[in-house]
Symmetry: C2
Subunit: 199 residues, 2 copies
DNA sequence: CAGCTGACAGATTTCAATATCTGTCATTCC
DNA sequence: GGAATGACAGATATTGAAATCTGTCAGCTG
């Protein structure tokens, strides 16, 4: 128990919660554990988060936001043509998820449980943010005449859903298999060709 | 307990197993239950199926094969052009799964558990059969000059994986949502356009 | 007095004893 | 004699009592 006499903030609680989740897993990580890790009573934790699930949602959002930020850089890249940006963006999403899943499977499994719990709220918002990023790229490509697309938002949604297998944690086990890279390329090729074609 | 004095066959055991699964669900459906439903001792069931999981695999295969057969009709349809056949085949796959999921959610959940159990064996073979059917259509379209595709088998795999969300039981809950039809159309449009485009 | 504590009620989880199930096989039955 | 039985050992599941956890709040503390 490291009491660390600093003031108790939401931020410090989130850090401790991550650590407890990493150690105990999602099923056995309790609010009491988090409080103990911080050297405070569990009542203090409830001062910053109304419920245990609010705390879990906040931790999950934090984890997902790291990926959102990473990808934002590609949306903003000014020197890349739209087709390359679509490819790089989807490849970066796949690579980010895959790296996490392979580097620390147990932690990834923990967050997979958390995302399943919070599918309607936190994950829904995350997916909206991501498809908004994609929409931005598709819109730019349409404006530049590179893509022929009726409604960029609808097409961005289709791109995102067509690549579910390469970012949905449900498929994480597939990402270890030898052929995945090629499978991803095949899907991506088909989709990008679909963007280019005349309506 | 209907003893039905006919001879005990693998077929009759499979029918009884389906019934027990429907009534009890996957967790509580035991070999003893199946034997009781048939009015025989459980030892007799083991004469036809080496293990409980062999029995479950056989029932699952039966269920999946019904879909395979249904779709085979579209592959063989001689009066349809390749693009229509791709669209109809994927639409029929989605419709078949969706119908089952909405008509009897509990039974569908039961079979979802069974398919998860048998992912490596029975489901793997099922997916191979389905992608083989798709490959056939893509090959025909390529031969006819309608599609421009390097390797029909690879492209068929990409088509199948890009539409995972519309046939993988994992997404069954999404199939109730209002917008799904449109989402499916958007993905399908993008993919079909990708098939048509020049390499 | 703002922040923290710890005791509390009700909900959930754990654990160990008990019951049931799986898979085998010597024996029985037509 | 080929098919079916049922007793059995080890594995798995169920159950209910005890332990722990969640969320609240009156009171302590600096």
């Amino acid at each position: 128990m490291p009491p660390t006499s600093e003031t108790l903030t939401a931020e410090r609680i989130l850090e401790a919660t991550e650590e407890v989740l990493r150690r105990h897993g999602p099923a056995k990580a309790t609010v009491v554990d988090v409080a103990r890790a911080l050297g405070v009573s569990h009542g203090s934790v409830y001062r910053h988060f109304r419920t245990k699930s609010a705390l879990r949602e906040a931790v999950t959002k934090r984890w997902l936001d790291r990926t959102t930020e990473l990808l934002a850089a590609i949306v903003a890249a000014p020197d890349l043509d739209p087709e390359t940006r679509v490819r790089e963006w989807l490849a970066a999403l796949f690579a980010a998820k895959r790296r996490k899943a392979l580097a620390d499977p147990e932690l990834f499994a923990t967050y997979s449980v958390l995302t399943t719990e919070t599918a309607e709220t936190v994950v829904g918002a995350h997916i909206t943010e991501l498809t908004d990023q994609l929409t931005e790229i598709v819109r730019a490509g349409t404006a530049a005449g590179t893509f022929t697309v009726d409604d960029p938002a609808v097409t961005a949604g289709a791109l995102f859903r067509a690549t579910d297998r390469f970012h949905d944690p449900h498929y994480a086990r597939e990402w270890e298999r030898p052929g995945v890279e090629g499978e991803f390329e095949a899907v991506l090729d088909l989709l990008v060709r679909g963007l280019r074609a005349a309506a």
